[in-house]
Assembly symmetry: C2
Homo-oligomer: 211 residues x 2
DNA sequence: TAGTTCGCATAACAGCGTTCTTTTAGAAAA
DNA sequence: TTTTCTAAAAGAACGCTGTTATGCGAACTA
């Protein structure tokens, strides 16, 4: 049965491609986390993987294509941070915890966060598709906010408020990363907490009686 | 009088150095504004000025040194935006206006803002001195906030609140620049306005009776 | 078995920040 | 005025970068 042999070969080849692809991304990821975005050059990646740069270009097209995958990985990691947050307490504390989880992710994975939200790699800017995929990682935050409302039309409103809160957290994280908060008496999480309390107090309905 | 001739020569030389320095920075600045941070290479700058790269290195040491000057120029421009804000209305509206002026500066000078607050140039990170000099541009905001308080101990408190508001505005601007707000029904300034109102309501004393 | 296609490595190209070497213009000295 | 010296600038070079062209060898097709 030659056709079967061919099929098996194709399948094996496909499998090999997939394994190689994941291996490359794993190596690029550890390179990014251990040595920062500056170390993320096509040559370094190829060297780490143990192949030539040609493989990277046939596999991902160009550097943008490779970083795109890391970009999405970053949002997956962010989502995992958010999903790990317990929502046993009341909604208000849950929302605070989500925001602090967001900050924890950013601080523990600064190199990833820089790719996702700062322009550390001149050759890379996420396209529209990836921007939307990334935003989906904030679904949990939007859901928690929607749960604060009882009305029917609250879907869009929840996303709007989620964006306000997201932007606020992002701003604090961004300035903290640029060391703009280095010489302050108040710690960065405390400053963030203040802003969050203010936003929740003003933008969300009274949550005292929520679970 | 030979010593006078020498003095005049030295002075003329000094003057020439200063003119050249400013000319280089002007050219680099227009390069940055017209073609973005990617065009800001030592070779392009030298070509625009009409000299060799050697001149840039003897004058500024390295690229970091040259960008340092642009970084400070950016904060000067930001300060001018803030100083142009009329503080005739009440304090609350003045603070809002300062924040929107900040956003206007950022949006009108995205390339400058990127240098100041995003890491668009891998070779450049501002040092501690410049970070502090930059922060001083927010003096007007801190002053306006301090004016909201009557007590004596309000200096530090005003700076803390200023940082909260600053981070919030920065976050909104940063996400807007990364196009994360592109597909929203609510405009970016409206989202920002919401966040600001919430912060002012919660963090500042009642301002109804202020001038 | 002969021909072809495909995957990969090697080498190259243009451009980057930076530095080394060489030229040159102009002040100082004679 | 002519020579000498110095300081500044130009140009080439080095080791990087992303990307592309070339070439080779192995595996499928006929």
């Amino acid at each position: 049965m030659r056709t079967n042999r061919v099929k098996n070969f194709r399948a094996a080849q496909e499998q090999h491609q997939q394994n190689l692809r994941q291996g490359i991304l794993d190596d690029a990821s550890s390179l990014l986390m251990q040595e920062g975005a500056n170390a993320l050059t096509m040559r370094r990646i190829a060297e780490t993987v143990g192949c030539s740069t040609t493989v990277l270009y046939t596999m991902f097209g160009n550097k943008q294509g490779l970083i795109d995958e890391l970009y999405l990985r970053g949002f997956d990691m962010l989502q995992q941070y958010l999903e790990a947050v317990s929502h046993l307490g009341n909604l208000r504390n849950y929302i605070y915890a989500l925001c602090h989880a967001y900050r924890n992710f950013a601080m523990a994975n600064q190199t990833y966060y820089s790719i996702m939200f700062l322009k550390v790699i001149p050759e890379y800017t996420p396209d529209e598709t990836n921007l939307k995929l990334g935003q989906a990682s904030l679904k949990l935050l939007a859901q928690a906010i929607r749960d604060c409302f009882t009305g029917e039309e609250s879907e869009d409103k929840a996303w709007e408020i989620a964006r306000v809160i997201w932007a606020t957290v992002h701003g604090h994280v961004g300035l903290e990363m640029m060391n703009y908060f280095n010489y302050s008496d108040v710690s960065a999480p405390q400053i963030l907490e203040r802003a969050l309390q203010a936003l929740v107090n003003e933008l969300l309905p009274d949550l005292d009686n929520s679970q």
